[in-house]
């Protein structure tokens, strides 16, 4: 029997994350292909093991603080002792640091941005999203116990199932050099983009702050709100609370119109719940068109005013 497949269980404010459950679904498939067991690694609150019943067993070390440094040290130690075949790590802001650091300590690759993982004649092959989603690479590793960073949304979440068996494991942690102090909540006030039916999302293609007016006018005509991709937030043209994606909000509008957004996986992650997605982009090969229902391959500065007028005319 091949050695086990592991999933690093990610916990956020007292709960196991959805991404962890998705990785358990994927991990189960991979374990099935290689005839091995699926184990979850829970570093922290043992009571959360109850949510991890999709695994055959949960390895739990309760004394680990939720800092990348501590999680990485604990994970690397367990991998060395128990030599799993592979470790699936959520490719999220929360866990990518710990995965990268643990892999560095173990001198194994941390295979980045995997949307799929399969066993091919005993070798694990990951399908990785690279170059902002423009290309994908099929990647295998030459090492044992490789870490794979798996994107959110790779599979549906596994249901918790029956209470799993839990194996308590001991880890010794180095003196902490990175200490958590507190959370800073997003500033309240302004529009809650997670509650909107219509969102106009602007990306770097909008070019200047003045041009934001175009998006505001379209949003006003459609009765929606404006949100944005990372570069627009970085520029300070919209507040952090209006960022959609990996570091931002998960939105679920009935209509999501993207203006000058390339469609990087970190952005698309945030719109899984959107019903109708439209993209306007000058680059016919932009990955955003693979994540939209309707596309207009044209200059947003020409399309948006025309669209605003057409909406107004239609609404009368």
């Amino acid at each position: 029997m091949a050695s086990n497949i592991w999933v690093l269980a990610e916990t956020w404010r007292g709960q196991v994350t959805e991404t962890t459950l998705e990785l358990l679904t994927l991990g189960r498939e991979v374990a099935g292909q290689s005839g091995s067991q699926l184990e979850a690694v829970l570093l922290g609150d043992k009571s959360l093991a109850a949510s991890l019943g999709a695994a055959d067993n949960v390895l739990c070390a309760a004394n680990v603080e939720p800092t990348p440094e501590a999680v990485a040290a604990a994970l690397a130690q367990l991998v060395k002792e128990r030599q799993p075949q592979a470790v699936l790590v959520p490719w999220t802001n929360l866990s990518m640091d710990a995965g990268a650091l643990a892999a560095a300590q173990l001198n194994v690759p941390f295979v980045n941005g995997c949307k799929d993982l399969k066993s091919d004649a005993g070798t694990l092959v990951a399908q990785c999203v690279v170059y902002g989603g423009k290309l994908e690479a099929a990647v295998s590793a030459t090492t044992a116990s490789t870490l794979f960073g798996v994107l959110p949304g790779s599979r549906s979440a596994a249901s918790p199932g029956n209470a799993p068996t839990v194996t308590d494991v001991a880890v010794t942690l180095p003196e902490a050099k990175v200490k958590f102090t507190k959370y800073l909540e997003p500033e309240a006030g302004g529009v809650d983009i997670t509650q909107q039916d219509v969102l106009i999302a602007v990306g770097r293609g909008i070019q200047t702050q003045d041009n934001m007016e175009l998006a505001n006018d379209l949003a006003a005509a459609l009765g929606g709100a404006v949100c944005g991709s990372r570069p627009v937030i970085d520029q300070g043209w919209l507040p952090l609370s209006c960022q959609v994606g990996k570091s931002g909000m998960q939105v679920k509008p009935k209509l999501y119109i993207m203006l000058g957004i390339s469609g990087a996986p970190e952005h698309i992650e945030g719109i899984k719940g959107a019903q109708v997605v439209v993209a306007v982009n000058t680059d016919a090969a932009a990955p955003v068109f693979n994540a939209s229902h309707y596309g207009i391959n044209a200059d947003l500065f020409e399309v948006v005013p025309a669209l605003t007028e057409a909406v107004k005319a239609k609404k009368g």
């Binding site: 440094e69 802001n93 640091d97 650091l101 994908e136 490789t146």
Partner: protein, 254 residues
């Protein structure tokens, strides 16, 4: 503060990317490269810290097409030194490149902070910041969006999801993987870069030692095979807009 910034060039993904004949790598014949966006933020954060606390910013990069222009631009923005690593093997993975860069960085110590982008568009086998931290035996944290220094620790904000950030106290010296600087990267006029080219020099060091072998194999590089593609609305901007409005009306979205 003494700050080292590690940066690299990546393909500009706004351009068309073509796969080479081997089906496993990028066709570099017409490739336009730009500074990795996250590294640009790391540089900006370093310069902001220097402006607040004084000190020196040293930029380190592997040789690449157009790297000289990028390095001169970093000095025009406020970096004090630029070091280029030459004679490195072609086609290194992130792990291999980090091995070389880490050794060069080690030779440039002491430093209070080593800053680099949390991720690059072409990373496949790890994240540079974590790899370099491991080599230097420095603490590391990534997805950083603000740094306040002063004293033996830095206060660092890390971005989680949903707009929530976490505050961490990090013992210096440390490596930080920067997601975004506190302000957008500054713009520097071409004239200023030209002036810097006349007065400043880029230092070079030969790639030290061995980068090791790749621990991954890229079996295939290809355009994504997608289960769905948008229905494209053709015609003039007015026509396409008109078609979209009809579709939205049909779906009861107006």
């Amino acid at each position: 503060m003494n700050i080292l910034v590690l940066l690299k060039m990546v393909p500009d993904v706004v351009e068309e990317l073509e796969v080479a004949g081997d089906g496993k790598s990028l066709d570099t014949s017409f490739l336009r490269t730009i500074i990795n966006e996250r590294d640009d933020h790391a540089l900006e954060q370093a310069i902001l810290l220097k402006e607040r606390h004084g000190g020196k910013v040293t930029v380190v990069a592997l040789d690449a097409p157009d790297i000289d222009d990028t390095l001169f631009a970093t000095m025009a923005k406020g970096a004090d030194r630029a070091v280029k690593i030459t004679d490195a093997p072609e086609g290194m993975t992130t792990q291999m490149a980090a091995k070389l860069c880490g050794q060069v960085v080690a030779g440039l110590l002491p430093a209070d902070l080593v800053l680099t982008g949390v991720q690059a568009l072409d990373d496949l086998d790890g994240l540079s910041a974590a790899l370099v931290a491991q080599q230097l035996n420095f603490p590391y944290i990534g997805v950083v969006t603000a740094v306040t220094a002063g004293g033996p620790t830095a206060t660092v904000l890390k971005e989680f999801a949903g707009g929530v950030r976490g505050e961490f106290a990090v013992t210096l010296p440390a490596v930080l993987g920067v997601q975004a600087a506190e302000k957008p990267p500054r713009y520097v006029p071409v004239a200023k870069v030209r002036a810097v080219m006349k007065t400043n020099k880029i230092e070079t060091v030969s790639a030290p030692g061995d980068a090791g072998a790749a621990q991954i194999e890229v079996r295939q590089l290809a355009k994504p095979v997608v289960s769905s593609h948008a229905e494209m609305l053709e015609g003039s901007p007015e026509e396409a807009a008109g078609k979209l409005v009809e579709l939205l009306a049909q779906r009861g979205l107006l």
